[in-house]
Amino acid sequence: MDFETIIGLEVHAQLKTHSKIFCGSSAAFGGAPNEHTCTVDLGLPGVLPVLNRQVVEFTIRIGLAVGAKIVPSCRFARKHYFYPDLPKGYQISQYEQPICEGGEIHIFLKNGEERIINLTRIHMEEDAGKLIHGDEIGDASHSFVDLNRAGVPLLEIVSEPDLRTAEEAETYLRKLHTLVRYLDICDGNMQEGSLRCDANISIRPRGTDNFGEKVEIKNMNSFRNLRRAIEYEEERQRATLEAGGQIIQETRLWDDPSGPTQPMRTKEYAHDYRYFPDPDLVPLQIGKKWLNEVRRKMPELPDDKRERFQKEYKLPLYDAEVLTAERDLADYFEKAAGAAGADYAKLVSNWVMGDVLRVLNEKKADIENCPVTADHLAKMIGLIGDGTISGKIAKSVFDIMADTGKDPETIVEEQGLRQITDTGAIEQAVADVLSTNPKETERYKGGEKKLIGFFVGQVMKATQGKANPQAVQEMLREKLSG
């Protein structure tokens, strides 16, 4: 039977504030265990939470960016459950009235198709502490609690069940990652858990309207794992149904690196959170004035930048998507394209998407610290453009720039990489190659035209790649036809 997968994602993004959401403890990642704690996040009796204004401002920012309705008035609620990562016995979250309702995220699939993913809501809440199990601490019979993370501000971004494939889910999460980084509200570091994702997955026979029983998957801490977990889970559900079994509503844990999802909590533990409005916090009101204030400070958003790149630099959708995935990468491209000139925009794009990203990956560097500056890249592309160097030689120049940080013109002079334009020198090299390869010459003349590639290669070798391959080929054809 042909099944369709229905996926909804719940994404948690840690906000980039200095202090926690309801107290003045540091919200920084790491620190000695329990170093970033105070009376409030430890949940000591008699303390009162006070809302961090920056958290609201950050949330308004993303609400505006996704076109959500930012409600004029909302409040916080207590969500109760017992777990040692939560010292108060409840988490302060939002329930009936979240700060943002609706909104949408636009994604582009590999085939160029655009999909609009609707959001249900975005709300603010506090993160829980970290639990360490077993013998890491040298005592396998207990668990250990570090409350540094307790009270760090989180956004929960809930999508409608609009996603249909693992690819769509991964692309959606990447887009959210791009967005929170553009808005400068979350560092997006998935390894440190700054951006986390849970997925609700169900399948149904294609063409039907009812949703199947859904399974929640937690603990996917990378784009790749999200994709693998969904692919595994849709296959598991399909096999279960086809074997005549039933899907049980449950929470499963993605168990990296071993792969498959494992059941986590059974229905017996199904939560009854007993939400109620937190009496320790007063209602929050957001007026037009505040919204406008935030709106004025909004950066250019990824979708707008992508469209502008397509128009202004005449780039294909794919290029524009890759280049605008990170604000700093987009800035680098714009700087290089601006310096190289509009005619070279596509060439700049190719170099940025190819060699620049490769070098950053090899050197584990950020684009801000790219050893090849945007100006140097532009200059190098200028050298290709005016025929000083060939595209092939440019690869070597680029690698030398990456290793030394030197100016491309200096490198070309120092290494003698200037393209040979002197026809006499090329003619000499061609004649040498033909005379040292009499057999191949015969075969070419006998009709094996494919050998032209061999001759070009030999001449390029003889000239250390400095001859213009186009000119070499023309000259070879001429000599061989005579």
Partner: protein, 94 residues
């Protein structure tokens, strides 16, 4: 009666309270009495009264985003069990 024995069992389970048979009986009665008393409020016509989220008529109390919380001198002293910088708790497995 405003509350059933099942309600009391459910709530005590959520609150991780172990109740004796006598206590279940007693609390079912007492909680029922409290709910009956509170339900007097239902006699009021609140059709035109917006729901109250908070008894204080103030909104938007904020703190600025500054790291300024005083650290507790010794967490270890207030922790029931403490080990290598961590609170030690009975083993929980996710």
């Amino acid at each position: 009666m405003a509350i059933s024995r099942e309600d009391v069992l459910h709530v005590s389970k959520l609150a991780r309270l172990e109740l004796s048979e006598a206590e279940i009986e007693k609390f079912t009665g007492q909680l029922g009495d409290i709910l009956d008393y509170i339900s007097k409020l239902n006699e009021l016509d609140t059709k035109d009264v917006p729901p109250t989220a908070h008894v204080l008529e103030i909104t938007n109390v904020f703190r600025e985003d500054k790291v300024d919380a005083p650290r507790i001198g010794s967490i270890e002293e207030i922790a029931p069990e403490f080990h290598k910088g961590h609170f030690r708790v009975p083993k929980v497995i996710e």
